[in-house]
Amino acid sequence: MSRARSLRTALVLSPPLLWTVLFMFVPYTILVVCSFWRAQFPLFVPDFQFGNYLTLVQDPQYVRVLLRTLKIAALTSIFALLLAYPYAYFLVFKVRRPGVRLALYMVVVAPLWVSYLLRAYTWKTILGTEGVLNSFLVSTGILDEPSSVFLYNQAAMVVTLTYVFIPFMVMPIYAALEKIPRSLIEASSDLGENRLATFLKITLPLSMTGVVAGFTMTFCLSFGDFIAPVLVGGPDGLMIANVIASQFGAALNWPLGSALALVMLVIVLGVISASDRFERLGKGTLS
């Protein structure tokens, strides 16, 4: 019996274990190893040196791209939060009918099912010099001639990325707000707190786990994006993922690209573990 059982366990375990080792553990290890190699024709030679990392630190263009990417990702997350929080709050506390609430929730989540690429592309068609917004403003007389300020800059990237990733902000905040017991809010108002104080002392702190989860998701996703920069970012809008992609493409420096990817990986993992820690901290104070 116990042998049959352990055989069964092995059968359940081995496909996922084999898969993760073969297609996750091994490739990530190769990435780490490759980041210490040297680029040489045709591709690279094994080595152990820190030259790639040194290049990343010394060449100001890489630091600049990294800082720009961090800035865009942070701005995107902040704007997504500013839009998503009131929306989720409205759904949970202002909408009475469950059917309407479900419908309004689905309306925000639904765009996730529509191609991400096309959702980014449509902003290019809206913001372009000959695009919808410009021609609309010209035909209504607000602008005299088409303006090029809308497209190919960082603002356009932030707008596009906010648009693309906002569902990831709404979902966890909605889930967190929904879990707050109504009795707590009623108790607060019974005790004479006004609504702002109730919000600041009860609702907001109790929804922080959702805010942090949404912020983490949105930040990581926009941090690694390489579609929006190409479509709406313009010449000085490249982000770190674009630079990595070009090292594996035209620039043909895989070791440097690997090193850059590892920097990206470390930052993403740092953000995730910080948010994990926050979540555990929150649970500690609640119980």
């Binding site: 096309l118 959702r119 035909s139 594996f248």
Partner: protein, 283 residues
């Protein structure tokens, strides 16, 4: 109390009530306007995408110039595009099947089996949910390169299955956690072996999570760019084809593809909502 005093009391009460009513009304108007703005932000771009697929002129500018189905006719004649659609269907079907066959046992293992390295396994499996796809893409590219494996649609399938594993595992795992342990125990007490218990008891109970995550995986794979970008050989998937067209410039043909994708997505969403409702009705 004189009649006049009474009426003045009533009046002031009425005044206060109307004051509160007005405040409530203003608040309501502000909320509604804000929500309407957010919805406009979400849906005007999609409306623009769809509307301009029917626009007669090649340029995407206001005002629109007239109605045409020309862009759709061109799509139907575009062999490259049609091939890309078939490639995408092939990739999405295979990677969904693959990710389900690996993801369901992975969720079962995380749920009910203790083994050395479980914590690492969990971290590794769930990583791609927040990890930029580009990292999965280039790390696999490096491995295939070192193994001298030529890139093809099959390498894309392996990449997608790996990246989507996290989606399946999280959803199935969450469903398993809500499943009473007693079900499995009852099944074992009644003499079912592990396989029977899985197929007759566990699987029917987690069906909605399996179908839901399967549908989601399919959509995500159909739409995937970052992993595909690095792992595809000469064959293009639909997003890669659209991407290469897009980089050359804006054309209403892309809008037509977009409108079709919006239509298919809408059907899928309605299907999954109905599925969800059926499940709730049964329970």
């Amino acid at each position: 109390m004189t009649a006049m005093e009474q009426s003045s009391v009533a009046l002031s009460g009425g005044k206060r009530r109307s004051c509160i009513d007005r405040r409530k009304l203003t608040e309501r108007v502000i909320w509604t306007a804000g929500i309407a703005l957010i919805l406009a932000f979400l849906y005007i771009p999609i409306a623009v995408l769809v509307a301009y697929s029917f626009n007669a002129s090649r340029s995407l500018s206001w005002p629109m110039t007239g109605f045409t189905l020309d862009w759709y006719r061109r799509l139907a004649e575009n062999d490259q595009l049609i091939e890309a659609v078939w490639n995408s269907l092939y990739v999405a079907t295979c990677s969904t099947a693959l990710t389900l066959t690996i993801g369901i046992p992975a969720a079962l293992a995380l749920h009910s089996i203790n083994f050395p390295g479980k914590a690492v396994f969990r971290k590794l499996v769930l990583l791609p949910i927040a990890l930029p796809g580009i990292i999965t893409g280039i790390s696999m590219l490096s491995m295939f390169r070192l193994l001298d494996l030529p890139l093809s649609l099959e390498t894309v399938i392996i990449g997608h299955a790996t990246a989507l594993l996290a989606v399946v595992v999280t959803q199935v795992y969450a469903r398993l956690q809500r499943l009473p342990v007693s079900y499995g125990e009852a099944s074992a007490d009644l003499g079912a072996n592990g396989l029977q218990t899985f197929f007759l008891v566990t699987l029917p109970n987690i069906r909605s999570a399996v179908v839901g995550s399967g549908l989601l995986s399919f959509t995500l794979s159909f739409d995937e760019i970052p992993v595909t970008f690095f792992l595809t050989g000469r064959d293009n998937t639909l997003p890669m084809y659209i991407w290469s067209t897009m980089r050359r410039g804006v054309t209403p043909e892309i809008n037509a593809v977009g409108a079709l994708i919006v239509a298919v997505s809408a059907i899928l969403i309605i299907m999954s909502v109905l599925l969800l409702r059926d499940k709730n009705a049964v329970r």
